[in-house]
Amino acid sequence: MTTERPRTRADIVDTARRLYEDLEFTAVREWLAADPDRKAVGCLPVYVPREVVWAAGVLPVGIHGGGDRLEIIRGDAYYQSYICHLPRSVVELGLSGRLDMLSGMLFPSTCDVIRNLSGMWQILRPEVYVRYVDVPQVEHPATGLEFWKGELSTIYRDMCAIAGTEPSDEALWAAIDDYDRVRDVIGRLYALRRDEPWKVPTEELYLVMRAGEVLPPPDFVDLATAYLEACHAEPLRRRDNTRVIVVGSFCEQPPLGLIKTIERAGCYIVGDDFLLGNRMITRPPERGGDPVEALAHALLFHHQPSSVMYEPDPDAKEVTIKKMVDAARADGVIFAAASFCDPALLDRPMLRAGAEAHGIPCIAFKFSENTGQFQQFREQAGTFSDSIKLWGGA
């Protein structure tokens, strides 16, 4: 990793791409090597409270599988054909030594697959700290909030123990500051793409976001800020594309080829839930008072709608898509879920019904992180885009 800030769009994207393609996590290893006391911990999708990790001085590293770049041998040995692809590549990464630099792994309560993977890790890597992070499902100040505060404190305490640091409110606030800046720059990039999508191709944006999964927050903020500036400075040609949001790819990530395919088929992606964890909290935790409480409060009461969190409002599912489409000023929705992804696929009929009730055109397909052929996606997305352009809807 170069430390000097890359200048041009191409440079920045190139840096991000190298980070993305590097299944050895060299950037993390280098960061660790710079100081023997440093520690890093892996975070599975979707949401892990990275602030409490970083506050302890531990680098949170997003583990998002191996994409289409990893050959799976050992990973497949542990999974039946009807389970999604993500855990296979995570196991493969783990068993091939590529995650050896991590002192721990955090498995959030995204679904039963990731939940059970936490137990597998306890057996596969007994020397590593493993914690199942039971994200609260009840937005109740007396129960859910108290519970999550307790969880955050425990994780923070454990992270400090790993790093050999002392827990402190100052450190927590500093980490919250860092992540506020992360959320801020992500928010600005997403807003720019929404407003002028020709300036921010999603393929590039995605790569930059992925850099945030392996870089320390300040480095990522630098990179993303530079990219934001470059987007303004080096505009690309504006096309007559349809505006779509992509929904359902919050956990197992689509291959880059799929994102490219959607864009090349004539769609501007103006909203998505890729790497949703990095912006799960929608409002900066409130200052003053207890930082743990502030963080807990922010997640419980100001989080993105997501298939992996219980929706207490019975009417919300119906309007979720409508709200997302409005916020993104999109023309249509592409439901892109990982094959065998229960949370995404069980949510889909509800979301889709909501979209249709509001006359929002949508299409749906399934992918897996290592999908190698995009012909069918190209055709579907192309037809979808054309039909919206022609008739303003399906």
Partner: protein, 440 residues
Amino acid sequence: MAPTTKEEVKVQKDRSMILQKEMIAGHFERLEKAPETGEKVVYTFVPGNLTELIRSFGALPLLPEINALQSGMRGKSKGYIAEAERNGHSEDVCTYVKCDIGMLRSGNIGPTGTRLPKPDLLLLSYTGCYTFMKWFELLREEYDCPTVFLHVPYQGDGTLLPEHRAYVVKQLRETIIPALEQVTGRPYDEDLLRENLARSAQAEDDLVAVLHSAKNRPSPIDSYFGGVYYVGPIFSAFRGTPEGVDYYRALRQEVEARVAAKQGPLTPVGRLDDQKYRLVVEGPPNWTSFREFWKMFAEEGAVVVASTYTKVGGTYDFGFRHDPSDPLGTLADYCGGCYTNHNLPGRIEMLERYVKEYEADGFIINSVKSCNSFSAGQLMILREVERRTGIPGGFVESDLVDPRYFSAANIKNRLESYLQMIEARRAGGATSSEALGRLA
């Protein structure tokens, strides 16, 4: 094997089974009449069900999984699933959910042929599987009634941590009980709850005695195929009820009589006294070909002496009993202890104990496509249990209620191969130890 003819098998039914059938029929009749009688209906799930609490409010529990599995056994699930898939549900997801949604869309006629009442409350107690959460989010779309959520933390570190237990108790007190009070219009009556819990504990004692009876040779029960019947009442609407107590007393007597007579359980091929293989099974059964599946075991002389599936609605055989002296705390413990709420190492340990304590010859995993909660990680369970017991495991695949995923030929092939391997190892082992004996 007992020389039983086909006809005899047909008419042979344990008394407890007849009793159970009556109980279930009665319950569904009551459910059907609920709209007229004004009894409140609470939909809830098997793992982590709060039956004693629900009943203490005079409400009736209705369990969608039970309906789904019954639909599977009655050959209805295929159509229901197709109906749900026509309505946009993915082929990939849990077939219980699709079966339930399909049943709802097809007139909501329950397993015993009665119409199912609408829920007055969706009590989403969240134990061991996220799909439940989606399930009620989906059902909620169809009904206009409150949904209340109980978040039961997972045993990520192998136990239900004290703070997690307190969290569950607090939710019971602050959200679940108020919701039940509101729906039923009755105040929370802790004494009534205690009475129910005391009855639960009594039935649980009898159930555990039945489960433990499989340590005998021959085993008087089949702890998987037969076991799903044995746990039926306690997993569903009858925990804490007088009928439940009666049922388990009768069941225990029946089983103890078989032990005394050195008899095996009834199976689809007659009474299985000559038990060639004692097996432990992990994973839910397949319901669409339940008897065919059972027959494959019974025909080979294989009896299941312990299973994990019979612990999804509560794990009692390691000592836990509902405790009337701590009514809410005990419900929290119960919820936290349901099988799929155990972490993977815990599940492995349980299987290891079963193999050893029940002196099993082998263990089999039935991996169902539907259920990530069970299936994700089962291949690791297989390997670990093999390593710890020195006994190879067998692996078959099917589904809960989607008949498209039951390939009889494939399963039979694997099962036979597995049992023959166990047999060959047994024979081989004998030869080599004989050889050693001769050398010495």
